[in-house]
Symmetry: C2
Subunit: 207 residues, 2 copies
DNA sequence: TCTCGACTGGACTTGCCGGTCCAATTTTAT
DNA sequence: ATAAAATTGGACCGGCAAGTCCAGTCGAGA
């Protein structure tokens, strides 16, 4: 089952994944054919099936993994260090900027939408990504609670879940309408809400 | 351009739309073929193209319109009458229940994901639906402001945008992971937040 | 150098699916 | 009743894209 790849082999494999991801970002999953990937990456049909014996579906899954990883790493180091309001604001900017640049096609959601129910693998990739994302946000909330900047009574996990939902919805709306306003509104309202709890429910640490 | 349909004709046309919508809900857009629709609705190829000269794409667009309409009407009458906290809570229940029942495939997002950018029509359908949805929420916020139940300083449109994003994201996450928790968290956190503003920023109307 | 297996090239097969066509049949209007 | 228009049936076409096959080439170790 496990195949050993020479350095050259794994380089080719990686080139295929990244080329496919780029192609999908431009054309969308449905419109991207194996021939498109072949042409773009300078490979042949047999190579595609050599590295991805499961064919198109296996390649798509590999692309999904690759993109899921990018989504999270693109938010670092900010996402992993939400320990001041300044950091939260920076993270907000990074996130908005990322999606402004990416624009139009969201390769991950597209891939999942197509693979969707048929393959549990795709679902697992997304679920894991969302879990990690939410965990990092919740960690940030707790860090601020520790500094008495957020009401300690507040449920950090629920707040993180709501914020994550807002982000996902904001992105989804951007993909449909082309407008970033909802993503911004979701982030701004949520962060402002978190900041306000400190005034209402807890001791203010500093002026 | 405008074709007149006899009662029989428009009945057939409607049957095709609803059959296609059902098929798409089960199989997804990508997997649904015209032959599937044909078989399910007991029609022939020529009928499909008779009623939808633009072929598959035009049919998909009609399905998108049909589903977009359902999404909004399914939330009535609650969504159109958010004039008490009781009404807000009922609306929240209706919404969660709707998506709990619908489960898995979201035909609308699927259709849009596929048509996406290629056809401005699909985008317009979704944009219009989201606009109306958001407008009704904002109207509800203003109604509560008029009753001094929400801080009058609060930007109703921004709040509605953020809440809508949370709903969309909650649904999207449900489609990926199967869990309703994020939709519930988004709704609960947002509504609770709105209620809390009345205590902080405005005169309380009654006990 | 030789040789084995990993790696590559690209022609070919296969099946599906959107779309076309035309002939038949039913409905509507006069 | 009858012609015109709307509606219906289903065979057929053409293209495309996934997947197969086999004949090579390359590269590392004996």
């Amino acid at each position: 089952m496990v195949r050993e790849l020479t350095p050259k082999g794994s380089a080719t494999r990686q080139r295929i994944i990244e080329g496919a991801a780029a192609e999908i970002r431009e054309l969308g999953v449905v419109a991207t054919t194996l021939d498109d990937v072949r042409r773009r990456t300078g490979t042949s049909k047999s190579q595609l099936f050599h590295y991805f014996p499961g064919g198109r579906e296996e390649l798509l899954l590999a692309v999904a993994r690759y993109e899921a990883d990018r989504v999270l790493t693109d938010q670092q180091p900010q996402l992993g260090d939400l320990t001041s309001w300044r950091a939260w604001e920076e993270w907000r900017e990074v996130l908005v900027e990322r999606y402004r640049r990416q624009g139009w096609h969201c390769p991950l959601s597209a891939v999942v939408a197509q693979l969707g129910r048929s393959t549990p693998g795709a679902q697992a990739v997304v679920t894991e990504m969302l879990d990690q994302w939410q965990a990092e946000i919740a960690e940030g909330v707790r860090a601020m609670q520790a500094q008495h900047e957020i009401d300690p009574e507040l449920d950090a996990d629920e707040a993180a879940a709501a914020l994550l939902a807002g982000i996902q919805g904001g992105v989804m709306i951007m993909l449909s309408t082309g407008r970033l306003t909802h993503l911004e509104a979701a982030l701004d309202v949520a962060i402002r809400h978190l900041r306000e709890t400190s005034a209402a429910g807890s001791v203010r640490a500093s002026g």
